[in-house]
């Protein structure tokens, strides 16, 4: 009965060769194929991929930092804008009239008991400034009554007797 046709005589040599081939066949490790088992061109591609990924990571980090800074600055700006509305502006660098601000801001009509917020009161320690007495320090000085809803603006004029007074305008 000739069911198995063997075209070549299977010698021991041939058998050993076949065994070697079987044993030399790559067996994939259970943890995955290590990089060193890959071909050079595959290794190169992988390195390139790694580098690109690194750069992307760094860029993302920088971008995040920039975004954080912008956020902080935006909040600061918002705060500063808010503060401008609600607190006294530093007018120390502005020109003065006889040593006092050109425009005074007070909570009420100009009078002795209402010292303008930005009036430079006399400081005994330094000798600077002079006390508010309800009257202007210079011709043309203005006073704003912050409590008034209307007619809260005053200007200093000279009287015939050489004194100054406030005129509501």
């Amino acid at each position: 009965m000739e069911k198995f046709i063997y075209k070549e005589k299977l010698t021991s040599q041939k058998l050993n060769q076949m065994v070697d081939e079987i044993e030399g066949k790559y067996e994939k490790p259970s943890n995955g194929i290590p990089q060193n088992d890959l071909s050079e061109d595959v290794k190169t591609s992988l390195v390139k991929a790694d580098t690109a990924l690194q750069k992307l990571s760094e860029l993302t980090s920088e971008t995040n930092k920039a975004l954080s800074l912008l956020e902080i600055q935006a909040k600061s700006l918002d705060s500063a804008v808010t503060n401008i509305v609600h607190t006294t502006v530093d007018d120390s660098a502005l020109p003065t009239l006889c040593g006092q601000p050109m425009i005074l801001f007070g909570e009420g009509t100009p009078q002795v008991s209402v010292v303008p917020k930005n009036w430079k009161q006399y400081d005994p320690a330094t000798g600077e400034g002079y006390d508010w007495n309800g009257l202007p320090s210079a011709i043309g000085q203005q006073y704003i009554n912050e409590s008034a809803t209307a007619n809260g603006r005053y200007i200093a004029v000279l009287q015939n007797n050489g004194t100054l007074k406030w005129i509501n305008f």
């Binding site: 006889c98 002795v112 005994p124 002079y130 006390d131 007495n133 320090s137 050489g162 004194t163």
Partner: protein
Amino acid sequence: MDKLLTNMNNVFVRFPEIGDVVVKDIETKTPHYIKLDSFIKTELDESVYEIIGAVAWREHDKVLVVYKENTSTQYMNRPWWYLSGYTLDGTDRTGTLSIRVPDDNWNANVEKVIPYNATSAEELVGQLNGFFEGDADCNAQDWYANIEEDGSVRIHCAGTMAWQIFSYTTAKAGFALTSCAPEIDADYVIRRKNGNNGGYGSIFSMQRAMEAFTPDLSPESYNPSTDVKPMDVIRPITLPAYLGESQYQSDHCKALRERYGEGRDGWLKFLESLRPVAPCDYGTMRKRNGKERTDIMAQKMFTSRIVSEPKAMCNAAYYCSNVNSRTVDKGEFWLPTADELSYIFKTIEYGTDSNCNTDPINRCLSQIGNTISNKTHWWSCCRCGVNGAWYVSGNWGFLNYDYVHSTFRVLPVSLYTVR
């Protein structure tokens, strides 16, 4: 710098400091400044430079200069008024002048009814002068009338006899008079650092005020009899009163000590609060046009029945305005304003200190001319009321006023610009 200066004499600087010597180039009349520490008068070529005075103050490019000489004289010796209300229609008319006379110690007016019949101002003036010569009171006071350049009729008299002449001379019943010397306006108030807008008493010379008010004094002006608050105070308070230790009053200065501090240091800070606000647009200190004021007063001249050559009516202004030399023109110097005196007397220590080298202004002036003492009175050009003018008091160190015919020291000043 000090080592440099000891090896160099008469160092010229562009931006001077207080006390530096002011000279002018004789050829160009340009002012220059010599560092005081380097100044050797004998080594200055006075054929090239004329010595003018001392730097009293500088702010930016403006230099306040005090002249090397000063004198003593009256603010005003001859009051004047402008007459109106008369009618020049050639009919018989009268007008009345009401004047003060020596009887009853100058305390009462006497009415002088003056008849006239004139068709021109010249005729009226002639008749007025005729009346004045014939009336014993008017003759004694050298009353005189003249026509001014603008055609107005001016009457004037000798003012050195009594301050009441300035204040109480009036006209009625056919005549009218302006106020005395109407061209010279008056102020009564000075704003202080403590907020007070009072009259006399603002401290100009701290050195003098410290000396004058250290002892215990009884007058209530300087030793309050009731409690005082900082803004209430017009004049200095003595040290013992401030401390609540005066023998004349009980303690009324507690509020002051709360504001300015305890002890002598607190008292000094309190005195500083009485300094005038300068510059200031309020009251006397707003008058910063000393040259213009002086010019107006210096031009007031008179002749009379007994004075044939024109004489000045405002002596102090006339003296300052007429300072002149090879490099100084008439009108270049003027009688200082109260504002200018406040700057000058911040520095002056000579007087309370017997050494004229103590302050730089006097260290300079002692080498070139007359010194400035804080123990004498110095006129300003600022008027206070009808019969008074402001001056720096050598008794108290504050700005005070006195009758214009009083004799005080006069210090010409000018303002130069650094080029």
